[in-house]
């Protein structure tokens, strides 16, 4: 499916998309003009509620979304000085995520789009993360290789064009972000784990422990983070049994090093295989400084163009959904009115 960008249409009338994201922690809405210009972006985070519990609690999540959605959308429209009648379409995340949370967004977006008489655009959350790069980098072009790293997913995806992609590798057990969360919890650092591990790692020695790097069979672009997670836990348990106190910062630094090392090595392999001229990073773990630095070096060595979104666009957010929605709109890839939440949705 090639995108036919109707320049004359765009010139005649702005294409304004409202993006809504409720798949997990955040209730977020954004208004985007012509795929590039972010007129407003509201994120009502529930992280504080969840920090008390050490994770996302689904019941709490869907209740909070119900409370926040209307207000967040109204605020986004008001800040953008846009009325429902000015919108070309409404984009919403329909999966993957927690079913209760997704349903709030899908039902809300459906009602708003139907009421306004404009298309509903159903967006895969994972695709949205990758599309965040089109917002932060107007120069971005296909084909490209995307490394998507978050709490629930670790994917290497090759994009030939809009809507044309191939998943080259994915995790076979734990996602990178999940491993970071679990080890952060074991080290009593806090939730979400990534930023806390990163902060502790700054004061630690990344060579203090030689944690395993699972490369799997030769040539494989899949990931496995269960082994390194177990290795860290075993190190902690063994030390506890022997009454030895380990330096938390050293454990964090060595663990982060092992995770980033595997992500980078697999990305290099994927670049070599696909000969992709462009590399993008996406997902919550894309905010990790060490990962960004390492991939910047790799891109220089390999002569590929590398870009990643600013931290605000790495978290779950409505702006990335609006961007992906914009391209769905251009290709008239509208969602049916019976669009349902798909909790286990993957990149096909």
């Amino acid at each position: 499916m090639d995108v036919v960008v109707k320049d004359n249409v765009a010139l005649e009338k702005d294409i304004v998309i409202l993006g809504i994201e409720t798949s997990c922690d955040e209730t977020s809405a954004a208004v985007l003009r012509n795929g590039r210009e972010l007129l407003s972006h509201i994120i009502s985070s529930q992280v504080k509620t969840h920090q008390k519990f050490g994770g996302v609690v689904p019941e709490v999540a869907s209740r909070e979304h119900i409370l926040h959605l209307q207000g967040v959308v109204e605020e986004a429209l008001k800040e953008a000085k846009i009325d429902f009648k000015d919108l070309a379409g409404i984009a919403v995340t329909y999966g993957p995520g927690l079913v209760g949370s997704l349903l709030v967004g899908v039902a809300g977006a459906k009602a708003m789009a139907y009421g306004a008489g404009i298309p509903l655009l159903g967006i895969n959350h994972l695709e949205g993360h990758i599309y965040a790069n089109f917002l932060s980098d107007p120069e971005l072009k296909f084909p490209l290789l995307a490394l998507l790293v978050s709490g629930g997913h670790t994917h290497l995806v090759y994009f030939e064009n809009h809507g044309q992609y191939e998943v080259l590798g994915r995790t076979r057990d734990d996602a990178a972000g999940e491993a970071l969360d679990k080890i952060a919890r074991a080290l009593d650092l806090g939730y979400p784990g990534g930023p806390y591990i990163e902060k502790a790692a700054l004061k630690g020695d990344p060579q203090a422990f030689d944690f395993p790097r699972a490369m799997l069979e030769p040539g494989s672009l899949d990931f496995s983070f269960s082994g390194v997670k177990s290795a860290v836990l075993n190190t902690l348990n063994t030390a506890r049994m022997k009454g030895i106190t380990l330096k938390v910062e050293d454990v964090a630094a060595s663990f982060q090093e092992a995770i980033v090392d595997v992500l980078v090595r697999k990305t290099i392999l994927a670049l070599e295989k696909t000969k992709a001229p462009t590399l993008v990073l996406a997902g919550g773990v894309a905010a990790n400084t060490l990962l960004r630095e390492r991939l910047t070096e790799v891109a220089q060595e390999q002569g590929v163009y590398f870009t990643y979104p600013p931290p605000v666009l790495c978290t779950d957010n409505g702006a990335m959904i609006a961007v992906a929605g914009y391209y769905h709109y251009l290709t008239q890839d509208y969602a049916p009115w019976d669009l349902n939440a798909v909790p286990g949705l993957n990149l096909a």
Binding site: V57, E59, S226
Partner: protein, 156 residues
């Protein structure tokens, strides 16, 4: 019923899962209890292999519940892999639909099941995995129900 087995490597734990998986049928509910790193993932993957699951079985921690098409002794079933690690209140287990999976055409594997104790069926098979690091893992099978004794005795 109480059965006690030992495993000295993740590979052995996986192989034990495969043996166990071949004995399973629709309607079975298994609880996997053990700390992070005890070998629950390896055991679950072994069970999945025996049940002819084609996709890689990934961690259900983030999404709580992942379903797979499977085949138990020639009959198509759904293998439902759950992880309640992130839940903090029993009501949440109901909200995410744990109980809806206790059906005749489904085999359920539940990690961190403690929070859902009140809604588990009576004839659940409990597997407790102990040991960490380089230690041997001790895996004990426990159930209130006699049918597990008949099915497991001498077959593992």
């Amino acid at each position: 019923m109480n059965i006690r087995l030992e495993s000295s490597s993740p590979e052995e734990t996986h192989a034990l899962g495969t043996k166990l998986g071949k004995l399973l049928q629709g309607g079975d509910v298994l609880c996997l209890i053990g700390d992070l790193g005890a070998g629950k993932t390896a055991l679950a993957k072994g069970i999945g292999e025996a049940l002819n699951v084609q996709e890689p079985m990934t961690s259900p921690t983030f999404t709580f519940i992942i379903e797979y098409q499977a085949n138990a002794q020639g009959t198509p079933v759904r293998l439902v892999h759950m992880d309640l690690y992130r839940l903090n209140h029993p009501e949440e287990a109901e909200v995410i639909g744990v109980g809806e999976n206790f059906q005749e055409d489904r085999i359920c594997l539940i990690e961190w099941p403690e929070i859902a104790e009140d809604i588990l069926p009576e004839d659940v098979l409990e597997l407790r995995m102990e040991g960490s690091g380089e230690e041997k893992r001790v895996i004990t099978f426990h159930s209130q129900s006699a049918h597990w004794t008949e099915r497991l005795d001498g077959n593992l």
